[in-house]
Amino acid sequence: MNRNQLAILLSLLIGISVIGFFFFGREKEVDYSSEIKPILNKHCITCHGGVKKSGGFSLLFEEEAFAPTESGHPAIIPGDPNSSELIKRLTHSDPELRMPYQRPALSEEEIELLKTWIKQGAKWGKHWAYEPVKEPEITSQIQSAGIGSTDREANLAPIDLLIREKLTEKGMIPSMEEQPLRLLRRVALDLTGLPPSDSLVSDFSAGKITYEQAVDQLLSSPAYGEKWAAWWLDLARYADTKGYERDVSRTMWPYRDWVIRAFNDDKPFDEFTIEQLAGDLLPNPTQDQLTATAFHRNTMNNDEGGTQDEEFRVAALLDRVNTTYEVWQSTTMACVQCHSHTYDPIRHEEYYQSAAFFNNTRDEDTHDEEPRLRFYEEAQQGQIEAVLNWTKAQEGEKAAKIRGDFLKFFEPKYAAHLATDFNKAELIDTKWLGLWPGGSAVYKNIDTQGSDQMLLDYWTGINGTQMTIRKDGPEGEVLASFVINKTEGEIVRQIPFKPVSGKVNLYFEAKNPSAKPQQNTSAIVWFAFVPSLKGKDKPGFAQVQNSWEELLKFRGTRLPILIENPPYMSRTTQVFERGNWMVPGDQVKPKTPAEFGGWQEKWPANRLGFAYWLTSAENPLTSRTLVNRIWDQLFGRGIVRTLEDMGSQSDPPTHPELLDYLAWKTMNDYDWSIKSLIREIVTSQTYKQSSAISAEAYRQDPDNQWYARGPRFRLSAEQVRDQALAVSGLLSRKMYGPGVKPPQPEGIWQTVYNGESWTESEGEDRYRRGIYTFLKRTSPYPSFISFDAGSREVCLSKRLVTNTPLQALVTLNDPVYLEAAKNLGKKTWEKSSGNAERAISQAYEQLVLSPISEGKKKTLLELYASAKTEFTQDPKALEEFYPGAKPEEAAMAVVANAMMNLDEFLTKP
């Protein structure tokens, strides 16, 4: 925009506000959210809100602020600042009475503002972040300002307009556009996590495709999903192990693959949300929708002997509440777990009302991590169909649905740890029921659904145990009686069961004269009630029964997922006093926090309703949160800097209109398409600016919060590795599947009571993208940790970017990087027919897509020469460093190693 156009725009804007002023009265109305709340938060709320209510006065909620205090009178009298105790105390001459107590007084301006606010009626308001996103006026502004006439200005998108507005205010000037190829490298790294392919580089530099076309190619590359999934997996706390002491492996990778596919398919963010939070509650959920619910099974699971499953089930539940609010609402709920929020208007009981949405899933921190979704093989699909068709024909749709669900995820069932009244019995390693000879235990309030068959999952190493299950107690009616013999591992067995109705107590007893007195006759894992297949006398029964039994043996890929409790197993939710699960208080029902608004009665009061609430257009925070985080991924900081929090304690947005413009557009025009949102940002002039900076500009805006230059920051842990493998030609593009274990130094894995080891992957699996690297929570892949990747125990909104000597050691000495350097050196050496200068120039250009400077060329040539001399003079060193290579090749590898450590290479340009 040239200066004239800017002037026109500015005067228009000023004109509008001047007219507004005359229209709406002389004294400007004080705005509670932007002018009063910040003062109260800064000076008052630590003593008058949330945990503390000094003098019986709190400013947290509206009704509290106007309620009588300990003095018997309200402290704020709307319309009458002079009689309001609040104002009196701020200006009191007695230091004992003057507020804030023992701290500096408020400024005159602040007091004046408070007075005006009270005089105007002390109108309460919401924090900006809790106001629904409104349709922005930006589009009409652009049209009326007449921008969009000539060359570069024609590209001034709304983003740029809003950014320029602030820059002008600050007296700052935007930077020039970045050099085309450097820009291509930037956008390729941002969109795919990889440098641009050779063909993209040549098409783009030959002018065959435009920048926008290049962006579209990158967005449609499968690598896009791999890059952006890494961001989401940090939020989802995805890992390949359970966490805690034993930290054994778990099968979570189908969820990771689901996330990659969802990004590549550009699954709209509302669907993306609903499926992850409540896919199981959708009508007839697909395998994919069930897979998505593993999002909340990424919570840790404690296998340590002696730990109570219920304690860690509750820990996982609370983590789900906290994570959901952090991921979708940029809200810190962890405080409210123990007390009403100090700063944000969320009450203690509201936390547990939110928890009530999540408290009814089947998972109970059991060792086997059930419920798990079964991924059957092709052949087994036919068996399932046969079994279900048979059931449907014999017993109807409903029975077929129950059986079908059971085959999908083996629920509902009762876990062994529910046992009570142990007599000569134990909960083995606090996990499985072990009955000694003559021993018994009781399961209370079990609903058998009148089933004529029980499925029992157990294993044992001894023969001849007579098991009896009775109603209520030792003298009760016998419901099942059977003999248990030695098994080959864990089995699921069908046991005829006498149908009973309603909830019963099941008394389990075991007799085995040949077992030792304190020997476990078996280890029982769970039991379930699934009726036997009907139609025994019909032709074909035997085959169907056989299929059913085969399916029960399934041991293939099983993914922990969310499954809602059937009504007869549902839990009630109680407030935990001061957050302590051992001290339950009042019972609560599922309900969203009042301040956030937007709940519609038509929605079910379960996770599905909660997900609808999150993704409705009235929810003020979901779209703002999404936009803020995508912006951060691209610019290295959010429009609201505190990514995890948009509440009262957060920084105000640097560009509030921009945040709301993008939030509105994403929800409405883009229909929650993340690719469209990203495309709009990366095609803006703001994004395309050069990232070079003068000392003066740095001083003016060290954090680049006003965007007078392009983003420049170090690549992420995965990108650092992926890029090195990509440029050297080692990177495997194989997608999906179980986590891989590329080489790492010996002795990294040392976990107690865990027989697992890091078995190095073979072949191309050693060179897969970082997102496929097996992530063990208590011992993550060491070089990723050095580069600030998390260990994924809890939700992480933002990775910090550090700069440490340990990082230097990784890229200098880790064998992977050395191998990459050798490959790169070899490639360019051959391409340049053994001309060192050409090889260095080519390699450099391949790495950072810009020509090498004379200075750097000289430096690297000197390094080449010294390395060559050394390897020529010391053949033994040469043989050790690079077996079979010539001194020149080894020297070139050393240079490549140095190049791959350059700041420019490790940094997004």
């Binding site: 340590e304 990082q807 230097a808």
Partner: protein
């Protein structure tokens, strides 16, 4: 000069030193961009990098997040050596002498002790288990130390015992996390990370927070006990290993000489220097600094981790053997590391979980053997630090993650093959020595069975508050913002234990 004046004088000197360092740094930045690389590779050449750096307002921390900082107030201790006995040793066989318990040996545990309590493995009514060690008093302080620790008994006057420690976690993983991070759940920064974040470190050629493990395994809670949680990863503990590279990827690729590596780093930094001129991004200066530090770490870490050059009497004092991964070697290394200016040295010794499931896990035999492994080195560490004048400024902390029951374990109601004690949260003993600790004291009184503290109880948060105080921090003000709120090591708890302060 009275002690107060002395304190002020010291503080003044510290401040001055800090300013000088800062001044030097700014000078160097404005003159040549890289800081420590100067002497090593380029020499300080004023004017080489003049134009764009001179205007930058950078703090020392911008270039080096581990640069030393003065604490908010003058702490007595400059560094910490924390000896964590993973698995939890029995206080009843080591320090908490309970003659009454002996009288109840083999009798059924009184119901009153079991009511409303949960244990990890004890079920039903277990038997009481009398002390399996012989106790006597030692030194001028008359400290009770058992015959399991004869060497340590001789230095008992140096320490302050905390005998009524209590925790709220009775499983190893959560309890270790709680002890080391102030929270039983994963994800919080460890004590060592907090201290390193707050103080930086004195020696830029070594990691600021070093972890050494022995006993063949890492602690139950894994590497999270020295993780940096939400603090920048630069503050996490760096595990120095006895086998392989002492620090991961420390060793140069085989066949690459030190000279060549120096040339490599020199070339990288020169090229980066040029980029700084072009792009003006101060992160590049920081990277230059980090590469140089990496180079120096490669020299200094193997040096400090090598105990071969220690005199024979040192090996005798500690009971060290070169090349072993042992608690003794780690104690000697801990002394070498703090001597070199490392801020936090954290030792984990695994193998203290004496349930009585086997010989090694028995209270009368396994525990005695385990004590032999630590007795001499632990005493040697205190003596050695003292003779070097380092004990005054080094805080030494010893303890497990919880205590052990006065009852004999009956796992899931079964008679055990050996004598063992279950996990216990209500009472256990820890000790502190050195920087700012009132030596020769015993704080905390437990009941006649050693089951629970009856007076002067100390929680894990209290211990953390006290450690932070000794390092110069008010634990209530030492916070870091994460997920929208300020976090503290002590959460919303913790009382300073004044009685153990010198």
């Amino acid at each position: 000069m009275n002690s107060l004046e002395k304190l002020f004088a010291e503080l003044a000197v510290q401040k001055l030193q800090h300013q000088t360092r800062r001044h030097f740094l700014m000078d160097c930045v404005s003159k040549m961009g890289g800081l420590a690389m100067a002497p090593l590779l380029f020499g300080c050449e004023p004017g080489k990098l003049s134009k764009s750096t001179s205007g930058l307002q950078l703090s020392e921390r911008d270039l080096n997040p581990l640069a030393p900082l003065p604490p908010p107030f003058l702490g007595k201790a400059k560094s910490i050596i924390y000896l964590h006995m993973a698995g939890a040793p029995s206080q009843l066989e080591l320090f908490d002498y309970k003659p009454e318990l002996a009288k109840y040996h083999d009798q059924a545990c009184p119901e009153s002790l079991l009511e409303g309590r949960k244990f990890a493995f004890i079920r039903g009514v277990p038997k009481m288990l009398g002390p399996q060690a012989k106790f006597s008093q030692h030194g001028e302080s008359g400290a009770w130390v058992s015959d399991y620790l004869p060497h340590f008994a001789k230095v008992a006057d140096e320490v302050a015992f905390l005998k009524a420690m209590h925790t709220d976690q009775f499983n190893h993983g959560p309890a270790q996390l709680f002890m080391q991070t102030g929270s039983a759940r994963l994800g919080r920064p460890s004590l060592g990370s907090w201290v390193t974040y707050g103080l930086g470190t004195e020696n830029q050629n070594l990691p600021g927070f070093v972890v050494l493990t022995s006993g063949g395994k890492t602690p139950d809670a894994g590497k999270s006990v020295w993780g940096s949680g939400f603090l920048p990863s630069v503050y996490q503990g760096v595990q120095c290993r006895s086998k392989g590279d002492p620090v991961l990827y420390l060793e140069d690729p085989s066949g690459m000489s030190r000279d060549l590596k120096k040339n490599v780093i020199s070339a990288i930094n020169q090229a980066n220097q040029e980029d700084f001129e072009t792009f003006g991004d101060p992160e590049i200066l920081s990277r230059i600094n980090q590469y140089e530090m990496a180079y120096r770490m490669q020299i200094e870490v193997p040096e400090v981790m090598n105990i071969n050059d220690e005199p024979e009497y040192m090996h005798e004092l500690y009971g060290t053997k070169s090349g072993e991964e042992s608690f003794a070697n780690n104690c000697l290394l801990a002394r070498k590391l703090v001597e070199k200016g490392v801020r936090v040295v954290q030792l984990y010794d695994w193998g203290w979980d004496t349930h009585g499931t086997d010989h090694d896990g028995s209270i009368d035999m396994g525990l005695r053997n385990k004590c032999r492994e630590i007795d001499r080195p632990m005493a040697a560490l205190l003596l050695d630090l003292k003779q070097r004048g380092l004990l005054e400024e080094t805080l030494v902390v010893w303890g497990g993650e919880f205590g052990r029951t006065p009852m004999q374990e009956n796992r899931e109601g079964k008679q055990m093959g050996f004598l063992g004690r279950d996990h216990h949260v209500d009472a256990f003993t820890m000790w502190m020595a050195g920087g700012g600790v009132k030596k020769g004291t015993s704080y905390g009184i437990t009941d006649d069975f050693g089951f629970a503290g009856v007076d002067e109880r100390v929680s894990v948060h209290d211990l953390h508050a006290t450690i932070l105080h000794l390092m110069g921090f008010d634990h209530e003000k030492f916070t870091y913002d994460f997920q929208g709120r300020p976090f503290r090591l002590t959460d919303v708890h913790g009382e300073l234990i004044h009685s153990v302060l010198a």
